[in-house]
Amino acid sequence: MKAPGGGNPLEWLEDRLGLEPVLKLVEKKTVPIHRHTIWYYLGGMTLFLFVTQVVTGILLLLYYRPSSDTAYESVQFIMGQVSFGWLVRSIHSWSANLMIGTLFIHMFSVFLTKAYRPPRELTWISGAFLLFLALTFGFSGYLLPWNKVSFFATRVGTQIAGVVPGIGTFLLRFLRGGDDVTGATLTRFYGFHVAILPALTTVFLGVHVWLVQKQGMSLPPGEDERRMKTMKFIPNFLLRDAMGWLLALGLLAALSALFPWELGQKADPFAPAPAGIKPEWYFLFLFQTLKYIPAKVAFIDGDVLGVLVIGAAAALWVFVPFLDRQAARGEKSPAFTAIGWALIVYIVGMTLVGYFT
């Protein structure tokens, strides 16, 4: 194959794009081999699941119709009539859930190996924002089939947003597109899910991946870089990544074929809320936390206090690289390790309590 003008196509492209420094960086990039190397694969796995969702999401867009009169029926059509529509939607939903799972594991592995240490503060912060974006993706996408459970879960979820002091009422009306969850909410959530969130995610993901490539893999504290064995990113690490992705694809196929994502009953705004309504599993620990807070703590309403505490905890989480000064100096920081483990136990425990009660 020849480039326009008759030369080598790669050289032609290189003349115009100047990618050589990037290619050299990737070519030279190595990945340290130590007892925690396995956690390095979680980021790539999360990225793979995200890409899967982008692809399946685009396919779903071909048939999905975002209005309260047509949303449920269009998903019903996708699941029952469109060739392999069931597979596309099931993979989309399963990969969303698996991605949130790998995202949490990736985040805590980074936290416990203190990979947020300088100079990777921005990598951590962009990652934290990607987590919030993923949760918002989940929350907005959950409503789109317009079924009974998602309708009432959204009503509860947006109600919680409504108690944020000062801006609660605005936030609630902004999210719902009115006073209650209606077709306007669906259209709005659709807009968030397919336009605003993907745009923001593209930016944060671009920054995150670029920083990872630029700064390379972080070594856990205590590991000696000079004695460390390494493997080349390309092809060694990438091929291992590819094996993981293929296995994930197999898992997605199996889950989708054996447990297709159910559609449930169409939402009926006039029907009473089903008993024991719960959010998706990744919001359960937050939901459970709010349930345990008394109705009134001193002079503050329990739900307001809960939202404030959760908001404050999220903000602190974003700024962890600046709070853990010991890790920043290259020292061990057992307090943050303890906080990390306590959080894991809390999240897992509350999720299980929420799930089984």
Partner: protein
């Protein structure tokens, strides 16, 4: 209990003469007034115990409908409630200790038949109870001097009368059957009338009784819905279909136009009752139709007749549709349990169920053609739903096979990458 007392111990009850008064001869429908402030009946009897004090306690209960509206002792018993002495119970002032049974409908009717008076409490309140009562079997027999028949107080009570809408009132729908049954299910009490006393037990076991008592469905019929309440009487043969038709409108309409209507009337057969019975009506089943063992058609129609064939044809059509719907439903449910999306077909199948219900109602036309016209589209819908279920089940198998093939290819790809990686790493190790 007080009712029993009135019936059995008028002498003992005469002591109540010290209590109450009746102005029923000169009724004074009163406007609401604070009972305790000026009412000397209440003032004195409040300090008494037992049957002399109980009426006041009853009057003061929150749910006493008369007490709520300021109706007090003297409004029924007469006398002068402004007197602090025994002069309050002066017969010259209309005082009557215990109203006679035959006088009770008129006594209650003094207020309850007075539309102008009743309007001040409830503009929609009916005032025809007394005149209706006079047309009832109870009213007629009372006029003839029968002292055992029900009067107003038999069902509503007297002291402590509760509003009909009060869920603890004896005339609240849930209690009506027991209230009627307190006489009609009492063999000893009803002995002299020579009528059955098993109606209450039968009704309780019926589909109507079940709906009322178990499901607490207040719209289900109880005694008064078919017999009337104040004008209680057994429906005549000619009016049975009309009585049932107040709820089962379409069935009654079809029956009246059917070839059965005239012969039934001529033979003295109660329209609906002939096949469904009356008090112990059971949930109708498809087996009641046709020529099987449980069929009611074969009671009159014999083998070889055209009507016998018609019954068999209608039964076959309805039974076939019911079976098709059941089969399709099971297949769709199995597919749904396997995770297949068949909710659309399950929804469509409901239309076949509607057709089945329609066909079952159309039986009352006793016209096989009409039944078949409803069965046919139902069968077509059920057939399509069945087909959709089979396709879904087949798809499920296809998915499993597809999954197996996909997993095989993925496993091969993983193995190939693994081997390639090993080869690369061996080469890297040897070169370094």
């Amino acid at each position: 209990m007080t009712e029993k007392l009135l019936r059995t111990s008028p002498g003992a009850v005469a002591a109540l003469a010290l209590v109450a008064a009746t102005a029923w001869a000169q009724p004074t429908p009163v406007a609401a007034a604070k009972v305790d402030r000026v009412d000397q009946c209440v003032a004195c009897h409040s300090d008494l115990d037992g049957r002399l004090g109980d009426p006041v306690k009853a009057l003061r209960q929150k749910d006493d409908v008369h007490g709520q509206h300021g109706i007090s002792c003297a409004n029924c018993h007469g006398g002068d409630p402004s007197q602090e002495t025994m002069a309050a119970m002066d017969p010259a002032k209309g005082f009557v200790a215990v109203p006679k049974r035959q006088d009770i409908p008129r006594l209650c009717g003094k207020c309850h038949s007075d539309a102008a008076f009743m309007k001040q409490f409830d503009p929609a309140e009916r005032t025809d109870q007394e005149s209706e009562y006079s047309t009832s079997v109870h009213g007629k027999r009372l006029k003839q001097g029968d002292q055992k028949v029900a009067v107003c107080t038999s069902c509503h009570g007297f002291h402590g009368v509760k509003a009909v809408k009060n869920s603890t009132a004896p005339v609240y729908p849930l209690q009506v059957a027991e209230t009627c049954g307190s006489c009609h299910a009492n063999p000893g009490y009803m002995q002299s009338y020579g009528i059955p006393t098993d109606q209450l037990a039968k009704w309780k076991a019926s589909v109507h009784g079940e709906a009322m008592l178990k499901k607490q469905d207040l719209s289900a019929p109880t005694c008064n819905d078919c017999h009337g309440n104040h004008g209680a009487a057994p429906p005549s043969v000619a009016s049975v279909a009309n009585v049932c038709g107040t709820c089962h409108v379409r069935q009654a309409d079809l029956f009246q136009k059917s070839p059965h209507a005239k012969p039934f009337q001529a033979l003295g057969n109660g329209a609906c009752v002939q096949c469904h019975s009356n008090h112990e009506i059971q949930h109708p089943s498809d087996e009641m139709l046709g020529v099987g063992k449980q069929s009611v058609c074969v009671d009159c129609h014999f083998e070889g007749t055209s009507s016998y064939k018609a019954a068999a044809a209608m039964s076959g059509g309805i039974g076939g549709l019911a079976a098709q719907i059941r089969g399709a439903g099971q297949i769709l449910q199995k597919a749904a349990n396997d995770g297949m999306e068949v909710s659309r077909s399950q929804f469509d199948l409901r239309e076949a169920e509607n057709q089945l219900i329609n066909a079952r109602v159309l039986i009352h036309s006793f016209a096989p053609g009409q039944v078949e016209a409803a069965v046919k589209p139902g069968l077509e819908i059920a057939r399509k739903a069945n087909q959709a279920g089979l396709v879904a089940l087949s798809d499920f198998q296809f998915r499993r096979k597809g999954l197996a093939v996909s997993l095989l290819f993925i496993a091969i790809a993983v193995a190939a990458i693994f081997l390639k990686l090993r080869q690369i790493e061996r080469r890297q190790t040897s070169s370094s």
